[in-house]
Every structure is written in structure tokens, then in C-alpha cells.
């Protein structure tokens, strides 16, 4: 007789999203395009009713980066929501031209209609009692932390936004952040702010912060982990990171984007992309 009982108790069962994600696939007209951060583009699109007010910081949208009639590139690309304007009913994305999808997207002009699926993902969670929020941004990782800053200020919290880049021109311009945000920068070449890694600045803010939120490239995460180990006390403050995985469906169906966590395998598109750093197995 064949044994059909589990041989091991792992977390594969939980990996299947129980939640049904409420997302919309919509036609989004590009209403504004702006160059920013050296080579990147801010693309603002019209969003359907209510979406801009519902979206949570850290959530993303999946954009089809091709014209109708072409099947290549085939899959959608995820982009974090950079800013959401509920009164104008618009969403803004920060797109760095990297490969085929993003280059196509960054080249679209006002008036183009994009096929967008969202909002997707869990988003950051800010504890009700957190007063002081510390953002740690690298490159286009700046995007979800801008929306988080907007929301945090609206809720009356304090925000310090640390950002690192190679040179001054690759930094998010200060004008992009609300004036109440304390904006502290680092550049590799010292052309603005601290000369060195943005994570060098972390220790002095860790005591101040009730929560830390990070999004950036791999090396930044590795350094964040090391600094946290050395400088956090009793695992405080908690650190949430937004991770990046190749995605196909964005809805927990394909299991292509899983992340190993202490709670088992999780779909980073539904159960992520935001995780408590200490929950990640890495």
C-alpha cells in the first residue's frame, strides 16, 4: 500500500495563499512622465476609482511592457507604487531602464495606455505605536519608501529617509520628498552627503527608530544585515525589507517567486514582497 500521509511536516501547505487577492486588471493612461535620478523615469498613470486611496505602501503593480500584437517580452514586470494621489486618482511608478521591459516602459509617452494589474502584495506594516520611522533606500528601492513616507507623515509620524547612490545625480532629489521628512544621503564618490555606504549612517539612527523599512540592491541588504546584527539591541528596532523575485503571475498561483522564511516557503507576490528581515532564511 502506498503511504499517502506526509513524510515530513514542512510548511508547503501554508505556502498556498489562503487569501484571495483583490486586484484589478485595468487600462491605465499615462498622464505624466518625468526624468529623475540620472536615467530613471517617473511615470504617472490614471488609476481606476478608489485604487489610489486603497493602495498600501510597499504594494506593487504588474505592468505589461509590450504593444498589443507582440508577445515578446511576454510577462508583466512588477513596479512598486512610488506615489498615489487619491484626489487626482493617479499612481506614479519609478522606472529604471534596465532590460527589455523597463526600457520599453520608460520610453512610453503621455497618452499611451498601459495594461496594469494591481495593487499586489502585502505592503509594509507600521505598528500603531511607532512614532519614528527610518527608511533605507538604494536605487529604485526608493520607490515604495516614498509612498510609505507620504502615508506616515499623514498619520503624524516622524520620518528619516536615508538614501545611498554612486553619485549625487543618482540620488532621489530632495524635492521629491515631503519637506517634513529628514533626508540624509550618502554617495560613493562623496559628491553629496556622507562619502561611503548609506548603511554606514544606520547605527546613529537605529536607536531613534521604532521601525526600519528597507528597499535596495543586494549589497545594501547584506550590509544592513551585518549592521543590524552589530547594532540592534534585543532585536529592536524591527526591520522590514521589500525583496525582489522574478514573478510570473503576481497572484500566488505560479509559485515562481517563493521566499524561504521561518514560517516556511511563501509567495513573495502575495505574502511578500515585504518581510520582517529576521523571518527570512538567508
Amino acid at each position: 500500500m502506498v503511504d499517502l500521509e506526509p513524510r515530513r511536516t514542512d510548511a508547503t501547505e501554508e505556502a498556498v495563499a489562503d487569501v484571495t487577492v483583490r486586484a484589478r486588471e485595468f487600462e491605465a493612461e499615462v498622464v505624466a512622465v518625468e526624468s529623475v535620478m540620472l536615467d530613471s523615469t517617473l511615470i504617472t498613470v490614471r488609476a481606476p476609482n478608489g485604487l489610489a486611496s486603497q493602495v498600501r505602501a510597499g504594494q506593487f503593480v504588474d505592468v505589461l511592457c509590450r504593444v498589443d500584437g507582440s508577445y515578446d517580452p511576454l510577462l508583466r514586470r512588477p513596479y512598486s507604487v512610488y506615489r498615489a494621489d487619491p484626489s487626482a486618482e493617479t499612481l506614479t511608478l519609478l522606472v529604471r531602464p534596465y532590460g527589455r521591459g523597463s526600457q520599453w516602459l520608460a520610453a512610453q509617452g503621455v497618452g499611451t495606455t498601459l495594461d496594469v494589474l494591481g495593487p499586489l502584495g502585502n505592503g509594509f506594516s507600521v505598528a500603531p505605536r511607532s512614532r519614528n520611522l527610518l527608511m533605507l533606500a538604494g536605487g529604485v528601492g526608493a520607490a515604495p519608501l516614498v509612498l510609505l513616507s507620504d502615508h506616515a507623515l499623514a498619520d503624524g509620524r516622524n520620518v528619516t529617509y536615508l538614501m545611498g547612490a554612486a553619485t549625487a545625480e543618482a540620488l532621489l532629489p530632495a524635492g521629491q520628498l515631503p519637506s517634513d521628512v529628514e533626508y540624509v544621503v550618502a554617495t560613493d564618490d562623496g559628491s553629496r552627503g556622507h562619502r561611503g555606504f548609506v548603511t554606514d549612517l544606520l547605527p546613529e539612527y537605529l536607536r531613534w527608530a521604532d521601525q526600519v523599512f528597507a528597499c535596495g540592491p543586494g549589497p545594501m541588504f547584506r550590509s544592513l544585515r551585518d549592521v543590524s546584527r552589530a547594532h540592534r539591541v534585543g532585536g529592536k528596532p524591527r526591520v522590514q525589507v521589500s525583496v525582489e523575485r522574478g514573478m510570473a503571475c503576481g497572484l500566488g498561483a505560479c509559485l515562481g517567486c517563493v521566499v524561504e522564511t521561518r514560517q516556511g516557503l511563501q509567495t513573495s507576490c502575495v505574502q511578500g514582497p515585504v518581510y520582517d528581515m529576521d523571518d527570512l532564511v538567508w
Binding site: D10, Y71, L74, G246, L255, G256
Partner: protein
Amino acid sequence: MADLSVDLAPNNPRELRLANPVIAASGCFGYGLEYAGVIDVQRLGAFVSKGITPQPRAGNAMPRITETPAGMLNAIGLQNPGLRGFVRKYPKLWETWRVPAIVNISAESVSEFAAMARVLDEQPGVAGIEVNVSCPNVAAGGFCFGWDAGMSADVTRAVRAATTLPVIVKLSPGATDIAEIALAVEEAGADAVSLINTLVGMAIDTRLRRPVLANGTGGLSGPAVKPVAVRMVYQVASVVRVPVIGLGGIVSLDDALEFFMAGASAIQVGTAIFAQPSRVVRLIDELDAWLESEGCASLAEVVGAALPTRPAGPGTATAAEPPSEFDFAAALATR
């Protein structure tokens, strides 16, 4: 409204009657739930669950997916909660749904396949079983069941004996002679066949100088494979009598029509759902409108329309008759 309904198990008293021939493919639609907040899942003809195995599986290491020209590679590695975990959760939910749910099963031995079918036989909310023979047969040194007619037939026979549910056998395009396999599983009692599963492919990460996927190889799907899928459906539909379910790269109405005309009684949409979820539902409406515009009362009128009138012999991919004379004017007519 043309008649879009289809019975995919005409030889089975339990039937597998679908309101329309558009099915969401296995592995591309989770357990139905995942897409329920985005599209109206109940409008589909049916959906096929992610592949279930006897035991829970954690799947492969990451990366598991990568994009290729007009396609994608996946090596999920059948991550799933195992049959028992599956049974605890989904059948009772699906029982409340209108859309028929088909369970896709994989195993590494004939007896495991049979054991799974036996358990599923009693489940509410399960409309049928799709047998994925694109998996390694451990007893045969890991050679894929689906590449061998005898092994494919053995699995089919065992599953057939273990359940009265409609049984669809899903064929692997890795077989040199797909028609031979189809005939073997038909003979062994399959109610229907579905094809194609993914082609085995690989992508290399030239920066890291190793395969992109942690598993090395992966399954190729999406529009890129459509011509291979249409050819195989045409070949299989030319020789079997059971319903053929066609899939592989279907995105648009025209893609779907290619499969119907090649002899498919129903179609499945996989990868394209990832790209444009709403399109799979729109496809049903478009198909209905197209049939109306062509003056067809039912889909059946176009199924196999491109097949040669008499089925060709086993294993041949004989073409429809070429135009008897060089049709200059017709060739010009696109201008």
C-alpha cells in the same frame, strides 16, 4: 448564443460536461482561489488545479522561472501540500462552486498514481482527474512515463481501474511519436487526452555562467511553443476517437481557433493567464461572437475543420491536401 458546451468524457457515465470549452491549465491557476479576486472564475468552462503528488513537496530551489522569447521556462518542482493536505482543503470549497474543477496528479510509480485516483474518486467537488505523465518513472530509472507508450498506458490503466471519475491523460511533447502514445492511452481507457505539457528547455545566465534555473532545465511554455502544440494536436486528433484538449501558447481567439480546427474539442490556457488574466474570460465571449458571425450553431461545427477528411494512419503527420493548383489569386488576396 452558439452552443459552446462540450462533454469531455462521452464514454463515461459520470460525464465531464463544460458550459464552454475554455479551461485554465494546471500550474497556471493555482487552486482556482488565487484568481477569484481578479476575474470571474465561475465563467470558465473548467479549471485544472496545480499538480498534486502523493506526498507534500517543497518544490525546487529558486530561481524557478525565467522569461524566454515569447515564452517562459519554469521549474517549480511540483510544490504542493500533498494529496492529504489538498483533500483537507479544496474539494469542500469547490463543491460550492459552479465551475468544474479538475485535479492534476503526478507520481513516480504506477501504484502511486492509482492510490491518488482512489482517494480522489470519493471527493466532492472534483469533476475529473488529469494525469500528468510528464514525470520520471522511478522504477524505469527516471525515464519519463510520457515518452513511452507502454508506460503511459500502464499509468492510464491503473488510474482507470481506481476511479470512475473522468480521466484525462496529459501528454508530453518530448515523445518522438505523440500519436502512438495517444493511441496507447486511449486504448488503456482514457476518457480524453490533453496536450501539450511543456517542452524541456534551458536558459543560461551568462553573467553567472550557469543555468538560470536552480534546477538546470525547465518547462517551456507560452506563445513560442504554439506551432509545436498545434502540430501535435492535429496529429493526435487525426487518430484518436476520444476528445482532445489542446493547449500550448494560446493567447487570442485566433490561437484558440487554430486548436479547434486542428481537432481540439476544448482548449486550456496556461501562461497567457499570467500575462493577461482577464483575457481568458473574454475569450469565451469572443468565441461565442465569432461562431455567431460565422453562422455556426455550435462549436462542434469547426472542431477538426482543418483535418484531412479521412484520419491518417497512426503516427503520421500528413497534411491537409495542398491546393490542387497553384492558387495565385488567393495568395494575392491579402493585399
